[in-house]
């Protein structure tokens, strides 16, 4: 599997969307990548770098997941900043 790569969609909302200036990213990952690695890729050298990582939740295919969740081709990932519904 090593060596093969795949793209995932990464959705951004609210404050994060405004900081990044886009509502969606496409990130190419190495096979076997987990959520934690993806987040690190997105955040590094970006306007999100100053955010505390404990504040960010991640969803994959519309379900919250942990940072060791393995990503697969076609996954819809979202960076979920603290929520404020109600």
């Amino acid at each position: 599997m090593n060596g093969s790569e795949f793209p995932v969609r990464v959705l951004l909302f609210g404050h994060l969307r405004e900081l990044m200036g886009v509502s969606e990213l496409s990130v190419t990952l190495a096979s076997g990548s987990v959520v934690g690695e993806l987040v690190e890729r997105v955040v590094r050298d970006s306007p999100l770098e100053a955010l505390s990582s404990g504040m960010l939740a991640i969803s994959v295919n519309r379900r919250y997941v942990r940072s060791d969740h393995a990503l697969r081709p076609g996954d819809e990932v979202a960076l979920i900043p603290p929520v404020a519904g109600g």
């Binding site: 609210g14 939740a57 379900r63 603290p82 929520v83 404020a84």
Partner: protein, 161 residues
């Protein structure tokens, strides 16, 4: 959206509990409509909660609010929370709708309702839905003030699954 019985006028009773509606919407919320639809002939209690945009926040005058949602996921989370409420409480029906888009002060941002044979479970179910959505519904809000400034409100970090 699950089907619902017009229990108050109909002859049938619900065989089991149901989620009447659980969704994010662009349309103005009308709790009264929900209340009319809610309940079976076995229900002695119906509770409705309306969340409204306050004209004041942390001492500042709020002109309007912008609610943004991860819509597809928010619909799923609302359905999940509503089903949990039905499982945790002896209630027959639960409904929840969250408005998104731009709301003026005084407008309704959230409606949560439950019908049950008895009042305590109905109130507990409504409370459960509100408390849960505040911890995990992917919705964000930006307040706009009298002076033209605006800010994204601090929310609650979602605890990972």
């Amino acid at each position: 959206m699950a089907s619902t019985e017009r229990g108050r006028s109909g002859e049938e009773t619900l065989a089991s509990s149901s989620v009447v509606v659980a969704a994010v919407t662009d349309n103005p919320l009308v709790a009264a409509d929900l209340l009319e639809r809610l309940g079976t002939r076995e229900d002695g209690a119906a509770v409705v909660f309306e969340g409204r945009v306050r004209a004041r926040s942390s001492g500042r005058v709020v002109v309007r609010l912008h609610y943004e949602a991860y819509r597809e996921m928010a619909d799923e989370v609302l359905r999940e929370i509503a089903r949990e409420a039905l499982a945790l409480q002896p209630v027959t029906q639960v409904a929840v709708e969250h408005r998104v888009g731009t709301l003026e002060a005084g407008e309704v941002s959230l409606v949560v309702a439950a019908a049950a044979p008895h009042r305590d479970p109905a109130m507990a179910a409504v409370r459960y839905v509100i408390e849960q959505l505040k911890t995990r519904l992917p919705v964000w809000k930006k307040e706009e003030y009298e002076d033209g400034s605006a800010t994204w409100l601090d929310g609650l970090p979602v605890e990972q699954a």
